[in-house]
Amino acid sequence: MKRFRRHGQESHRDRIKQELYGFNKTVEHGFPHQPSALVFSPSLQLLAIGTRSGAIKLYGAPGVEFMGLHDENAAVTQVHFLPQQVDLVTLLDDNSLHMWTLRAHHGVSELLETGRFTLTGPPGAPPSVTRVTAVLTHSSGDMLFLGTEGGHVFVVEVPGFRELEERNISLENVTNSLPEDYGGRRILEHVESLQENPVNPRQVLIGYGRGIMVIWDLERHSAVKHIPATQQLESVWWTEDGGHVLSSHSDGSYCRWMVAGEGTQSEPEKSEVPYGHFPCKAISKIIQLPTEQGPPFLFLSGGMPRASYGDRHCISVIHSKTHVALDFTSRIIDFFVIRDGPDHIGDPSALVVLVEEELVVIDLQTEGWPVIQTPYLVPLHCSAITCSHHVSAIPLKMWERVLSAGALQNTHYSKKPWPITGGQNLSPDAPQRDLLLTGHEDGTVRFWDASGVCLYPMYKLSTAGVFLTDAEPNEPNMNQCTEGEWPPFRKVGCFDPYSDDPRLGIQKIHLCKYSGYLTVAGTAGQILVLELNDEAAEQTVEATVADLLQGQESFRWKGHTRLEVREEPVTFPPGFQPFSLVQCQPPAVVTALTLHSEWKLVTFGTSHGFGLYDYQQKSNVLVRCTLNPSDQLAMEGPLSRVKSIKKSLRQSFRRIRRSRVSLRKHHVNSAAKVQEANARLEAELAEMELAPVQRKIEARSSDDSFTGLVRTLYFADTFLSDSSHHTPSLWAGTNGGSVFAYQLRLPPVERRSEDPVYANPAKEIQLMHRAPVVGIVVLDGHGSPLPEPLEVAHDLARSADMQGCHQLLVISEEQFKVFTLPKVSAKMKLKLTAIDGSRVRRVGVAWFGSSRSEDYGESGLTVLTNQGDLHVVSLPGVKLQVQYPCIRREDVSGIASCVFTKHGQGFYLISPSEFERFSLSTCCVVEPRSLVEVPSQTPGTTLPRAQPDGPSVAHRNSTRDTDDVAVLQEIQKSLEGYQPTFLENNVKSALAGGKVLTNGD
């Protein structure tokens, strides 16, 4: 009987779990890693990017995003849209062709692979015969021309990939039609380019690597004309009127050829080396576009003088007398030009350039050709990301202030709207305003609008101005080009991976969304407290030194020195302005940071100890050394020589051994290079067999390295010393499994600026398992985590229950342990490592709303382990709820970069430049939902909106959080004068109507 009932309860719990938790990777933010191909469909207004890892990504209007991944792990070398269709063809490194289509399903388009194809040559032919080098999607939309390395052109019917052998243009056909003096197939080489005559779809131009171009008539199946260029061919462009062909060459020249009339033209109409005289690099792509009135636009990629500017990545834009060489900071992958007009055949309006690390769009219709800020594909990594911090539900007032501060920074951008407008974004409006803050190596903090599918840059804060560095305090003006310089360079793009001083790097960020106080901490032990100010201000930043060693002798800091602070007042633009600075001594990297805006306190920790700083009075309240005197590594600073020498010795020994092995092999058989490489690989494997990786099994002791490193800091108003009075308290957890608790005494508000703040040690807990403490949370009488500071004051959270007993939750890398308060005694725990060998890497507190009933929700801990698994642990019961594999365990930097939101979502870096967004909650999902329709031939008609499916509508609006949260947000919205457009939202989400629930609130 009993057992039966328990079973029933369990299944009930299982149902609740299903309603609360669900794992989805929803969207990738940022810039794709290692892009390799770019294409634009003027009819769809979509751009597609292929990457070296085989991903294909489509972008249209902001919020319209699609992603596909080839099963083959090969680079995408070319992407082509089929004209006037929603299909596209990709060519991979392994010579396979793939057909993708955007299929509408429940009113939402999905990117699907619909077919694959590999050219098969005649039996016995070398692979080069079928190795595809050029692809042309014919304007008829049902033919694909594939030029190959062997010089043949194969014709394939699409979308079915049926070879039309009788239409193939073989090398023999072409050579036979050539005059005698061009004879011999040797001179033709591979097919470099295939172009269709813009005015006559019967004619196709085949450009061969050696330079010769042949215009082929598809119906007569014969050559119409030869263009006898003599230089190695790089690209070909057929002008819009069909009258000329432009060819660009490897020597940095381009030629214009007349194609009207029959017969062979022996000389180009015009031949020019734009950056002339001295040898130049190849012009890899050339485009010429006419304007309605006036001279055409000419776009050239490359062609720089080899000796002096051969390392520049340039695109030259020449229009009338204006000639600019746009100078990018990374390699150019490809570019295209967007044209005005309903049929996209008007004046060029924007130049879109994909370089290796960013997408740059240049407004060609505004004076000075300013850059248009991209709403997506933003290079997150313009300086390497060193940390990130997420703040949910930003109050409107604060949001607007940050936006306006950001707007002042973006005056150099074009005012033009984003030119790529394909597809319809059907995602519901973001339920709340979320900020993602990223700290960067160059000392900047970037604020991103993370509310929706597009991670949009809002504001950039630079902390370098506070310090004396080699860098110029004012950024050099990007738009300036020096007078009379040739080539006329202009720097564009913001990718700048070079940091002037690594000590400036931001390591920890904490923002109070209610008060506008921000604290950031960096690599050289610097902690800045900043306040949001709408006016520019000139002020001196007062520095306070916190000596964390507390007179520990025998200490030698071998690391970097402290940053030097500017003595004179510094002018800070509107935005977050620093007013206080704490510098840790020794200047080790800050490992933990927390701000309490209500108490006006900041606490920080390093590997040596932690401190408490009163930013109202600008004084240190407490400094505590946590250093273990026997901890040599921590004593010596960040560059642990002991370890590195050992390591490098081991590595060099290995290298020597390896080279000996391979030498021996080399003597035995002097085989080809491939074999040698194989042998080396084998030797390496053999070596691994001989000396396998070993792991030492040893209990942790207090003498281990970095036991004093402060991992987590926490403020709580709780019952620390007796159960009748709650007081402010500070909690610190270390790498050695210690927890320190301090009781804080704050003066009354009216005396806050005069009377000192006191911190008295109250408790110390040493976890016997000595695992690093990564999180501390105090649970109130109801078992809920304590609210954030000022949250209650702003009526946005239920105040903590001070009647019942508080509990202390200590999260170590190995276990979750609940203690009673004020008397600390173990109440319950959940072991992780002892059971499955994984360790907690990241932990956050989140609220999970139920997808079924609006008034139900639970708090839980979101946990990421070193195995890359995500767990949800219930509160206050600390029971494992769900587990999902998320990140590969080898992806250490991805795991380390993970940040959780307060509503069960999270972000982690999948490459230096991309955040993957995931959701653990069933009712808080941000994902792209968009529709792309087959372009209609009659321009100007609006796309019909999809009608919602009748029955599914009723379920769609049940996707809100519990009423608690909803009500709170209602209050927030009404406080901010925000009119919730529920009707609109519901209609939109009804339209969306997919299988995954969208986020209500």
Binding site: E814, S825, G837
Partner: protein, 388 residues
């Protein structure tokens, strides 16, 4: 209990606070940690501060795990000084009245009891103990045992290593490897985890129960198959205070032959048994004693319920007054995941539930101490009320 309201002591690293109790009297003094001196000097000092110059004393101290350990030579005296943090608590007894059983070193069997209760509840005078003991068995701690012999296949061995309170390193390394398994498809090579190296003088080596190339099958009841080397490493370290590894020994010749029933031929002198679930090896735990015993003979049988009872080690809490106390567990149940099937064949032949103890000491939960089968191991009470 525990109502000290003293100023927080400055726990400097250089000096050790000593609180010495003799009968009902307390003395407090401090010692220089760096220069503790010799044991006989210390002994004299104790006699001096307690003003009992001619009384023969048995000196004991409470270590961090709550064990009452003896101080009777330079080595264990220095050890006591070095581990005292922040306070060294001493308990002096007259030698003739001394209750050796109080030196219950193995706190593993009494995890829910503080040592003070054990000491203070001890009857003072009415227990007669043999005055001369050549070697105190209670000075020995179990260091390892073979357990679950009756439920495991003969080819496997489940070894428990007692790291608790040990100075010795666990002392072994593991590696990836491959082993051959019999599957329905025939023989198959599968990845496995193996012991790759033993640290000379380490706990693992000294037991003789583990050897290089033994395949690790389970860690504390969790199968390691499918887990990475790092995962298994972390599991072992997380369980290092009470590590139970199930191995398939590389050398299969020394396996316990269950059917033999008597002693004989087993590895490291362990004997086969028919009914016992395991064998414990007791090694010497304090570095200062005279003999280094080989863990060769079985002293007592091992109770498997210890596997569970030891799951929860006690974290140390230092309150503002500077006292170190092991955390008593609150009454509510621990929810640690059960890792091993509970197996209790010998549990509680005689339970010494202690009413007075329960009623008088609020936070000390009453425990029914499992009888360990040794005379004098169980606690008795004389109604003394204690406050700490």
């Amino acid at each position: 209990m525990n109502k000290h309201h003293r100023v927080p002591s400055n726990r400097t690293l250089s000096s050790v606070e000593v609180k010495s109790k003799f009968g009902a009297e307390f003395r407090r003094f401090s010692l220089d940690r760096s220069k503790p001196g010799r044991f006989d000097e210390f002994y004299g000092l104790l006699q001096h501060v307690h003003r009992i110059p001619n009384v023969d004393l048995l000196v004991g101290y409470a270590d961090v795990h709550g064990d009452l350990l003896p101080i009777n030579n330079n080595d264990n005296y220095h050890k006591a000084i070095s581990v005292a943090s922040p306070l060294l608590r001493l308990f002096l007894q007259r030698k003739e009245e001394a209750d050796y059983s109080a030196f219950g070193t193995d706190s593993l069997t009494r995890p829910k009891k503080t040592v003070l209760a054990a000491v203070l509840l001890r009857p003072d005078a009415n227990r007669k103990k043999p005055p001369v003991i050549i070697s105190l068995p209670r000075d020995f701690r179990p260091v390892s045992s073979i357990i679950d012999v009756d439920i495991l296949p003969e080819t496997h061995r489940r070894v428990r290593l007692y790291k608790h309170g040990q100075e010795k390193p666990l002392g072994f390394y593991i590696r990836d490897g491959s082993s051959v398994r019999v599957t329905p498809q025939g023989l198959e090579k599968v990845p496995g985890i193996f012991i790759s190296r033993m640290v000379p003088g380490g706990l693992a080596e000294s037991t003789g129960l583990l050897a290089v190339n033994d395949e690790v099958l389970e860690v504390n009841g969790i199968e390691v198959q499918g887990k990475s080397l790092d995962q298994v490493t972390d599991m072992m370290i997380a369980n290092s205070h009470n590590l139970i590894v199930t191995v398939k020994p590389a050398n299969q010749r020394n396996n316990i032959i269950r059917s033999s029933g008597g002693g004989g031929g087993a590895a490291s002198g362990s004997s086969g048994r028919s009914s016992d679930s395991g064998a414990s090896f007791y090694g010497y735990f304090t570095p200062g004693a005279a003999i280094v015993t080989t863990p060769a003979h079985i002293i007592q049988n091992f109770h498997p319920e210890e596997l569970e009872s030891d799951e929860d080690e006690e974290d140390l809490v230092i309150e503002a007054d500077g006292e170190a106390l092991p955390i008593p567990r609150a009454a509510s149940a621990s929810c640690s995941m059960p890792s091993l099937p509970r197996y209790e064949p010998h549990l509680n032949l005689r339970s010494t539930a202690n009413g007075a103890l329960a009623s008088s000491t609020g936070s000390l939960s009453t425990v029914s101490t499992p009888d360990r089968g040794l005379e004098g191991r169980s606690l008795e009470e004389d109604g003394t009320l204690i406050t700490l």
